[in-house]
Amino acid sequence: MATAAVQSGERETYLNHQYGIKSWLLTVDHKRIALLYLMGITFFFFIGGFFALLIRLELLTPAGDLVQADTYNKLFTMHGQVMVFFFLIPAVPAVLGNFLIPIMIGAKDLAFPRINLLSWYLYMIGGVLMLYTIINGGVDTGWTFYTPLSTEFLNTHVITAGLAIFVAGFSSILTGLNFVVTTHRMRAPGMTWSRLPLFVWAHYATSIIQLLGTPVLAITLLLVVCERLFHLGIFNPALGGDPLLFQHLFWFYSHPAVYIMILPGMGIVSEIVCCFSRKRIFGYQAMALALLGIAVVGFLVWAHHMFVAGISLYAALIFSLLSYFVAVPSAIKVFNWTATMYNGSISYQTPMLYAFGFVGLFTIGGLTGLFLASLGIDVHVTDTYFVVAHFHYIMVGGMVMAYLGGMHFWWPKISGRMYPEGWGRLAALLVFVGFNLTFFPQFILGYMGMPRRYWDYSHSPEFQILNVLSTAGATILAVGYLLPMIYFLWSMRYGKPAPANPWNAAGLEWMVPSPPPTFNFDEEPVVTWEAYNYDEIKEEVPVAQ
């Protein structure tokens, strides 16, 4: 096989061994598929972000003056749907997980490369349906699709939005299936379960949720579509149905879905904290078990979204109690990361800055989750800006921070180029400051009683100051997100070539060249070391300096 790279005399990598659109669209290489995902996910991130900015601008003044009420409703609906189903859920697994898991466990590819490609196509079909929905006038159900509003009372594009998420859901299922089978079947000799990087454990736990939760969402959305088409009455109280059944089924998936978003982020942060502290993870076993624990217990708590929805008093007590059980493994993780830093040798490269941010913001997000799990307080703050702030601390402060940290950490591996460190640190700082300025005021707004999804708050001008702060923060945040986009693109051409292991990090992915060759490994590696063996890794001056 005479490939382009061989002809030009360069080292052959997954990026240059073939050229042309077809070689990308029909590729079965997990690394190329990861890049395909990266493009889709970045696109949707900026679409969702654009909606978010419009929302923040509208809320700058109490009166509804920038857009119409219906437009505003569509904006927050599509912001939620795009961000949750087309960015947050696929982002880390489909990009970083796809790229890294096979390399981390010493495999040539995922177990089912063609299914991997299929899941990218499903994601794109879902994405196109979502775009079709947006361009045709959008949908205004709220991302939660609550019935009977969504089934009987709105005449926007509910069906296409539902199908978009249905299809994207199958993409998520197939990714999870691939990861589970890969982790079980494709590990290199010596790569035992107790030697797996926590990044892999995190994705394994995530995959369990994707596999067992997503199908319930799929059938629920299918039922919503059927309700709209045939007026069956399953979720419609006017026809004998129960709208709370929809909420039960929806949250059975959508609460664990939060852990689909955050667990991979936890995996990333474990890698970064160890690397830049030059230390083994504190309590490997507990960290791995906590990931699995969160994945399992996360399924037992869904009705804490429904404490004021009209569920039985006794069910509310059970779900509140169970919600606290899921907080314990989360607490272990935060303490163990902190303990990992103890007596380390810490340096402050960009990925580590994001990891600091993650641990801090996740702590705040997690602790405010305890407020919401407490029945007496939940009654007051649910469906207010307190909830909005809480889940943005988890999803944006947690997951997006981790995602950016991971992108910086592995960018040299993915692209073969270094990003500009100074700009990286500046962007990390902007994101942290912008994020807190945007969302911290919303906690206060929520306790003051500002309900979420309000287009107009002219009846309560006292909410304005905090909303202005929030909007100001959002603009800083937007700059913080645009910067990496720009310098990553810049670095692809002008960045310094990256050495195989620019961070002197542990792990198989740092033993292959940057960018990796098509088959990852020339010969099957044999693993003889524990994960994070930083005591055995010599600190060298990076070769490319």
Binding site: V28, A111, L211, T214, P215, I219, G233, I234, G240, L245
Partner: protein, 235 residues
């Protein structure tokens, strides 16, 4: 994948053309495929699980109307269909056995029998759907389900609650039938390859994997039959 010199390049290194490049051994590939199907079936359980949950809630609320709806279903056709599916499960199991033993003709015969049973099942299902359509038992504007609930001859059937029963009936059996159709498609492809003697003692993973799927579809029906057809039958 016509564009992939990777796969072809590596295929040459192995004796077995079915071994894909990224697997180290045939055993590994086979184990991966089998685990993949089992994990997929776990997903399927939750997919049907959402509907079983809806079913359970409304059966608990509207037991009488569910009983009435159930009794209007044709238990003879439903029971026959159960038997037909069980027969098809047997022929699939025999097809896998024949492949393991290298009996090429038996594989093909068993697969064709399986598809035949599958088509018979769908045909009977079609007859049942047709009957329901004629009787106006299909949810929608023309839905009409007169009568009384079985345990209480003086309580008339609540039309809305009966409509929920039939909605669930059509969605659950409809999705089951859709799974059957997918299975028939799989078997059509596999039969094609079986005729070309692709499968034998060394390589019969596709037959096994498709078999697992088919058995699962059978099991779903084993539950759907009593849950939908046999509520309060004795009254």
């Amino acid at each position: 994948m016509p564009n992939s010199p990777v796969a072809t390049a590596n295929h040459e290194a192995h004796d077995n053309p079915a071994l894909l490049h990224h697997f180290a051994s045939e055993q590994q590939q086979k184990d991966a495929a089998s685990l993949g199907m089992w994990v997929f079936l776990a997903t399927e359980i939750m997919f049907f699980g959402g509907m079983f949950c809806a079913y359970l809630v409304y059966r608990y609320w509207y037991f009488g109307d569910f009983g009435a709806g159930s009794q209007s279903l044709n238990v003879v056709l439903g029971g026959t269909n159960t038997a037909v599916l069980i027969c098809s499960s047997l022929t699939v199991a025999l097809a896998v056995r024949a492949a393991q033993l290298g009996k090429q003709t038996t594989v093909v015969v068993c697969l064709i029998l399986t598809m035949l049973f599958g088509v018979v099942f769908l045909g009977i299902k079609g007859v049942e759907y047709h009957d329901k359509f004629v009787e106006h038992h299909v949810p929608g504007a023309s839905f009409h389900f007169p009568g009384h609930i079985p345990s209480h001859p003086d309580i008339p059937i609540n039309q809305q609650h009966a409509q929920i029963f039939f909605s669930l009936y059509f969605i659950m059996t409809g999705l089951h039938a859709l799974h059957m159709i997918v299975g028939l498609g799989l078997f059509a492809v596999i039969t094609y390859y079986a005729m070309r003697k692709r499968y034998g003692p060394h390589y019969c993973t596709p037959v096994e994997i498709a078999g697992l799927y088919w058995h699962f579809v059978d099991i779903i029906w084993i539950y759907l039959f009593p849950l939908l057809y046999l509520i309060d039958r004795h009254k």
